[in-house]
């Protein structure tokens, strides 16, 4: 079972929810940090990293000696990453999605694919918990292929918890695609609601069941709850603002360590999700 934890904006407590969920499942779970621009599950989980693999994207390099300026590569590329113009062909590697269409279609075999580094995928263990994270290279903007590389580590026989990037853009959709369930973490404020609406709309297009967790639930107003009711989104959990949570977080301690009573609530959350999607959470065949 694959559960993605997402949120319309940053700083809502998404990582707190993702790590707590993974920790109560222990050796039955793996956590995959897909927020490759700012992975921070490791701050709370303090994993031992065992493997580090570079993730490269094949991008075109044109041999102008062979090129006849036929223009085919420019026509096939949807991203304007290769452009025959004037007496030359310009490649923009930072726009290239590595689909390989241009080199395949070049009649002169003038296009070679060269690797461009996007970042790394790291795997390891955080206690009994399997840990995976992607880290994008500084200055790199092409997150989706790196996120897909992180997701190849999903083992299938475990409860996979994906910590998605905040927002509703391409990297979020790349993370969430293929999940069995999405937990949306939000704050009960007008700002939280606004970003929640955008993210819910983007993810609903994928047809994945979704539920809401409200963090700092005792601040703000009832807007988020009204929204959930209108959209038929189950309200899975409310986490009130608590000094011990904030203090624990400031020290890099996971929620269920600073507030052990939350362990049961998160166990119940996994049961509730399993019930919604109709997969038993206990036993070997998760």
């Amino acid at each position: 079972m694959i559960v993605a934890v997402a949120s319309g904006k940053g700083g809502t407590g998404k990582t707190t929810v993702a790590t707590s969920l993974a920790m109560v499942l222990g050796n039955r779970a793996q956590i995959l940090d897909c927020d490759v621009e700012e992975p921070n599950c490791h701050i709370l989980l303090k994993p031992t990293i065992l493997t580090t693999d570079a993730v490269n994207l094949p991008v075109p390099s044109v041999d102008l000696q062979k090129c006849t300026l036929c223009g085919k590569c420019g026509e096939v590329c949807q991203f304007s990453a290769i452009v025959p113009i004037g007496k030359t062909v310009i490649a923009f590697p930072e726009l290239c999605h590595g689909c390989g269409a241009c080199s395949m279609l070049c009649p002169e075999k003038a296009i070679q694919e060269v690797p461009r580094n996007l970042g790394v995928v790291e795997t390891g263990m955080a206690g009994p918990l399997e840990f995976v994270q992607g880290r994008i290279r500084i200055g790199e903007a092409m997150a989706p292929p790196l996120i897909r590389a992180v997701k190849t580590q999903i083992s299938g026989d475990k409860f996979a918890i994906l910590d998605a990037p905040p927002g509703a853009s391409c990297p979020v959709i790349t993370t969430v695609k293929g999940s069995d369930f999405v937990i949306m973490v939000t704050e009960p404020t007008p700002f939280g609601l606004n970003d929640l609406e955008i993210a819910v709309e983007a993810i609903q297009g994928l047809g994945i069941p979704m539920g809401i967790v409200i963090n700092r639930s005792d601040i703000g107003d009832s807007g988020v709850k009204d929204f959930c009711r209108n959209k038929g989104l189950p309200l899975l959990m409310e986490i009130p603002h608590h000094r011990r949570i904030a203090e624990g977080y400031a020290k890099g301690a996971p929620l269920i360590e600073s507030m052990p009573e939350y362990a049961d609530k998160f166990k119940k959350l996994t049961d509730d999700i399993s019930m919604i999607i109709g997969i038993p959470s206990k036993g070997s065949s998760l």
Binding site: F79, G86, I90, L95
Partner: protein, 119 residues
């Protein structure tokens, strides 16, 4: 000489749109400010990425010599340079006014991009 001008509308009395890739229209005019073609650039306006590159290709295909616009990002600039198109930047007012400024040699020609890449 063929001149391309980024514009908010289809006539030479329209205001200049300062964005190269995302201007609704690109007007092609001659030295005497006669309109040769008004290119509807709206598919580019909605493009996710590479709008400036595509706009550069569009005007290169028309064998334009010079572009008048407001801002030009690095990818578009590289493409225009490869096509041998000069770039007059920081233009405002109407299309006609910009072309007249150009004829008075009153337009700064860019030797590097003057906008950030648009992601």
């Amino acid at each position: 000489m063929k001149i391309a001008v980024t514009s908010t509308g289809k006539t030479i009395e329209s205001s200049i749109d300062p964005r190269f890739g995302r201007a609704p229209f690109i007007l092609i005019v001659d030295d005497d400010c006669n309109l040769i073609e008004a290119i509807d650039n709206s598919t580019n306006v909605n493009a996710m990425r590479g709008a400036g590159i595509q706009a550069a290709k569009t005007i290169a295909d028309r064998k334009v010599d010079l572009l008048l616009t407001g801002r030009c990002g690095p990818n578009a600039f590289t493409t225009l340079e490869a096509a041998g198109i000069k770039v007059g930047v920081e233009q405002s007012g109407t299309v006609r006014e910009a072309v007249e400024r150009l004829k008075r040699n009153d337009v700064p020609l860019a030797d590097k991009p003057n906008a950030e890449a648009h992601w």
